[in-house]
């Protein structure tokens, strides 16, 4: 059992040793210039929902968030 010293948890939460770990797992290639993600092992992540573009944008404008250049990590 994984320990957190107080809270008893149950393996009936729907996973066993991350057996339900089905979405995350990108695959890609490592190059001297860094890691390039090419997709995900699972179909749980639909690539077009990540990086695709809709032709129907009407009055929607984009790019108003994300201009800060610092690294998020804290």
């Amino acid at each position: 059992m994984r320990s957190d010293t107080t809270a008893g948890y149950s393996r009936t939460e729907g996973h066993s040793h991350f057996g339900g770990f089905y979405v995350f797992r990108p695959y890609g290639i490592f190059t001297p210039g860094g890691y390039y993600r090419a997709g995900y092992y699972s179909g749980g992540i639909h690539e077009s929902s990540n990086i695709g573009h809709s032709s129907f944008k009407s009055a929607t404008v984009r790019g108003g968030f994300g201009s800060s250049t610092f690294h998020v990590s804290s």
């Binding site: 320990s3 948890y9 979405v23 809709s54 944008k57 929607t60 968030f65 990590s73 804290s74």
Partner: protein, 379 residues
């Protein structure tokens, strides 16, 4: 707390990459399994209790800041205060945070609270757990982060608005993307309908006054790995208030108070003498601090722009671009040293409970962006 050397798994890079951990080696080693930290159960109990106690104190401190309108001290813009107060009064969904502790004589001392955009989540929750299974399967680890994240997303489900729960980060940054996608994985396992959108692809529809994703679907709930102080200062920040859907941003905007180091003097004032707190002040107070203290920007990341003074002498400092908003002064509590290595304990709170720890180690007194993530176990 002991530092142990050990032999890394022969194919450890392959093993961690199979988990989806693509940034184990950056300019230098980030994931370091040549060492680990060993804790006694008593030490883990203390960390857990400190985390739970501090979380309660933090909630009380937020109420104090709101009741006394201390926003200027936190550099929160006036126009955004109604949104922050609404998010607090309406108990907007929140899920996690990470307290950073220095272990001093067996007592965890709070250095700061990363309440808005804490990272190293995936490493703490998954990567070190698999390391334990491979190397020391008979030992335990203070780590129920994964289970608690899934359980809390399940709990939050009925409090979210109808529709998709979006997840967003700056996609080009693998560390941020990994953290966000891991969090999304937990939400999916909790039964939530999710979608990732690059932060820069978030759209604003001026006709309908709502945020939209790339399929032109309204964004009503969104987990963002992007600090509030940046969001409100960017071009779309002004749209957050007129947004007709009153989108749930997770973490909520009241976390702006807790993720700001100006909260440390408030915590001290409300709980002076508490064993897990260090004396902290908004102004340098020689009578209270003496000559040994840390000077920290109220808003900074990755240990930037921090100065440590011991007996009046500068013993360590980091450079950076922060400090414009002001500083706080905190009694010096150096990290414990193990052969020139200095471990910082990151203790996670998920929902309302302590959930586990991750350790980052450096070769200097200030934990910066060159720190290494080191696993742990309970003896």
């Amino acid at each position: 707390m002991k530092r142990r050397t050990t032999t890394p798994r022969t194919d450890w890079q392959k093993k961690v990459e199979e988990l989806g951990f693509g940034f184990h080696t950056l300019d230098t080693t980030y994931w370091d399994e040549s060492v680990y930290y060993e804790f006694s159960l008593t030490e883990i109990d203390r960390i857990e209790k400190a985390t739970n106690d501090l979380w309660e104190m933090c909630l009380e401190a937020v109420q104090h800041v709101i009741d006394n309108k201390l926003y200027r001290r936190f550099h929160i813009p006036d126009w955004f205060i109604p949104h922050l107060e609404d998010s607090w009064n309406n108990d907007a969904p929140a899920i996690y945070g990470r307290f950073d502790f220095s272990m001093k004589d067996g007592i965890p001392k709070l250095l700061e609270f990363n309440a808005d955009t804490p990272t190293s989540l995936f490493e703490a929750s998954v990567v070190q757990w698999y390391w334990l299974q491979d190397k020391y399967p008979k030992n335990d680890q203070f780590n129920s982060i994964h289970e608690k994240l899934i359980a809390y997303w399940k709990y939050l489900k009925e409090y979210l608005q109808d529709g998709i729960l979006h997840f967003s980060a700056v996609e080009e940054n693998l560390e941020d993307l990994t953290t966000t996608e891991y969090m999304r994985d937990c939400a999916i396992q909790a039964g939530l309908d999710t979608k990732f959108i690059n932060l820069m692809d978030i759209g604003w529809n001026s006709d309908y006054k709502e945020f939209r994703d790339l399929d032109d679907t309204a964004i009503k709930n969104i987990f963002k790995l992007y600090p509030w102080e940046w969001l409100v200062n960017e071009e779309f920040g002004n749209h957050i208030i007129p947004d007709r859907n009153k989108t749930f941003w997770i973490e909520p905007s009241w976390k702006m108070i807790l993720s700001n180091k100006a909260i440390l003097p408030v915590l001290w004032k409300l709980n002076e003498g508490h064993e897990n707190l260090l004396p902290s002040f908004t102004e340098f107070d020689k009578m209270s601090l003496g000559f040994s203290y840390a000077k920290k920007p109220i808003l900074s990341r990755e240990g930037a722009n921090i100065q440590l003074f011991s007996n009046g002498s500068l013993i360590s400092e980091t450079k950076g671009d922060y400090g414009e908003e002001g500083f706080i002064y905190q009694e010096l509590c150096t990290l414990p040293e193990f052969d020139g290595n200095y471990p910082l304990i990151g203790s996670w709170v998920v929902g309302q409970e302590a959930a586990g720890i991750g350790i980052r180690e450096t070769n200097s007194l200030i934990t910066d962006n060159l720190s290494r993530f080191v696993p742990h176990l309970i003896s």
